[in-house]
């Protein structure tokens, strides 16, 4: 069912399995994300979506299969090296550093030693202007939506080629979700940023995405364009709460 790309994809995951102790969380996942795409991954609670996001970064490491980024094999690389290869992640639960200031959180996102800090900071504050004016606020005191925007800003500070987001809309007001999705769309269109997005908010995600995958119990059950999946009754029933 998966369409094979003509050129080599930016991210390609081939038969990846991952375990927590004896429990298999990923049971042979294959998917790919092409340069310039927005791809979304939806699935029920506990399907293994966050595990896949983390496995791309080697935590837990894939016990079988291969993960290629830009053609190079990153399956066995340590997490911090993967982060330096051009991928950035906005993980589940935002995970900002609560006892650092907003500015320091952004500094953490910039891979140190990079000379373009001021320029990258300008880009991020152009997206979320309040990050600039509240730079000295302790990140732990930000509201949930603000923390999510900070987490996205922090990930963008490394100027990634591929941005992974794990449920960025979780617990946020519809207006903020819309804002965040707008930002993703704009980055994708204007800067050519490739986006791989995990979402519970399936309707918005499927509308935003070029392509989508559905994960059930550690396996990919469906794949197709966002539009195709939105049109399927079984998907609508399972993930959109309407028949």
């Amino acid at each position: 069912m998966t369409m094979e790309p003509c050129s080599s994809p930016l991210l390609s995951i081939k038969g990846v399995k991952a375990f927590y102790g004896p429990v298999a969380a990923l049971k042979g996942i294959s998917l790919h994300v092409d340069e310039g795409e927005i791809v979304t991954l939806i699935g029920a609670n506990g399907a293994g979506k966050s595990t896949l996001m983390m496995t791309i970064f080697g935590r837990p490491q894939a016990s079988e299969g291969r993960i290629l980024f830009g053609g190079t094999d990153i399956t066995q690389r340590p997490t911090h090296e993967i982060a330096r290869a051009g991928l950035a992640q906005v993980p589940e639960g935002r995970r900002i550093f609560p006892r650092m200031t907003v500015f320091e959180n952004l500094q953490m996102g910039a891979l140190n030693g990079k000379s373009s800090f001021a320029q990258d900071l300008d880009c991020v504050t152009a997206l979320f202007p309040w990050l600039g004016t509240r730079a000295q606020q302790r990140a732990g005191t930000l509201s949930g939506g603000e923390q999510q925007m900070l987490a996205i800003g922090r990930a963008l500070m490394s100027r990634p080629r591929l941005l992974l987001l794990d449920e960025p809309s979780l617990g946020l007001a519809p207006l903020i979700v819309k804002q965040i999705f707008e930002v993703l769309k704009r980055l994708n269109r204007d800067e050519g940023l490739t986006v791989f997005l995990v979402e519970q908010n399936a309707y918005h995600a499927l509308k935003l995405a070029d392509r989508a995958y559905v994960m059930v119990n550690g396996e990919i059950s469906h794949a197709g364009t966002g539009r195709e999946l939105l049109a399927r009754d079984d998907i609508r029933a399972a993930y959109l709460g309407s028949a």
């Binding site: 970064f57 935590r59 340590p78 997490t79 911090h80 982060a83 330096r84 950035a88 992640q89 993980p91 995970r95 550093f97 609560p98 006892r99 650092m100 320091e104 500094q107 953490m108 996102g109 891979l111 140190n112 030693g113 922090r154 490394s158």
Partner: protein, 305 residues
């Protein structure tokens, strides 16, 4: 009043040494949640390294200038002890970090026993005397039957401690390394996702802790004029008490705790009896923990399971 003032000076001097050691406990605990039992012995090791280098410089190489010799001793002891602790962490703790929680602690107890016995075997188990030097003493008050004095060594201890604490503050607050350390302390996985090499950051933490404990070792050797392979244990326990008193994980807390323990001990010895000064120090810890379970400056979210 004069006695009080004198004990204040003495207590702060001792407290500065405890504080320098306590920082190593609190930093390592903050970053990887491990109590490094061997830290006191690393301090003791430094006092021996310092004495050996000092004797080498002044007696074998014939260096006449004591101040110059001491500067070299301080720098060399800090560098060597830092390197030593770097290797300890690589050999004895790193692989165990992925294991069950108590594994590195147990390994550090073994390392503590190894270090004190290694030094006792290599240098002899008895006290080693340090040649007397820098014996100038300044009188702050005269008459009144009791002269308050401040010795050159005390000035030196306070000055060296203050500059090292400033340096530490700068590293932790203003440099990428310090930021990476604080990030690892708050969320190690997230730090790694942002490209922080966690292993290297942990190494750096052990080295910084050892460098400060090494400075304490040099100052201790200078101040007390005698070193012993067992010194690490008791000083380590005191400094650990200081770290817990101040709130383990908190850098200002470690310094504050060190100063308080130094003061309590000194005042107790002066006004009551020197027999129970250790009991007094632990008593203050116990009472403090009853009312402030996280220590004086401890954070609410310190207990990682």
């Amino acid at each position: 009043m004069e006695i009080f003032l004198q004990q204040l000076i003495n207590g702060l001097t001792l407290g500065a040494i405890y504080g320098l050691i306590a920082i190593g406990y609190t930093m390592v605990f903050g970053v990887i949640g491990m109590v490094n039992f061997a830290h006191g012995d690393v301090f003791m090791l430094s006092s021996f390294i310092a004495l050996i280098i000092f004797l080498l410089l002044t007696q074998i190489l014939g260096l006449a200038s004591i101040p110059l010799a001491l500067v070299i001793v301080l720098v060399a002891a800090m560098a060597l002890t830092g390197l030593w602790n770097f290797m300890i962490e690589r050999l004895a703790y790193r692989r165990l970090r992925a294991s069950f929680r108590l594994a590195p602690l147990i390994s550090s107890i073994g390392m503590s026993i190894f270090l004190s016995n290694f030094v006792a075997l290599a240098q002899g188990p008895r006290n080693k005397a340090v040649p007397s030097m820098l014996d100038e003493v300044f009188k702050l008050t005269e008459g009144h039957g009791y002269d308050v004095t401040l010795s050159l060594k005390q000035i030196l201890i306070i000055a060296v401690t203050a500059s090292l604490l400033f340096g530490l503050w700068y590293v932790v607050e203003k440099t990428p390394l310090g930021r990476a350390q604080r990030a690892c302390e708050q969320d190690q996985t997230m730090a790694a996702l942002l490209g922080v090499n966690v292993d290297r950051t942990v190494s750096a933490t052990f080295v910084i802790g050892a460098v400060l404990a090494a400075a304490a070792g040099v100052l201790y050797m200078l101040y007390y004029g005698v070193v012993n392979p067992n010194d690490g244990f008791i000083a380590g326990v005191k400094a650990f008490t200081a770290a817990v008193l101040g709130g383990i994980g908190s850098l200002p807390g470690a310094v504050l705790g060190g100063l308080l323990i130094g003061l309590v001990e000194t005042f107790w010895a002066a006004y009551f009896s020197s027999d129970y000064k250790d009991v007094a120090a632990f008593g203050v810890l116990a009472v403090t923990l009853i009312f402030l379970p996280r220590g004086l400056l401890g954070r609410a979210d310190v207990e990682k399971v």
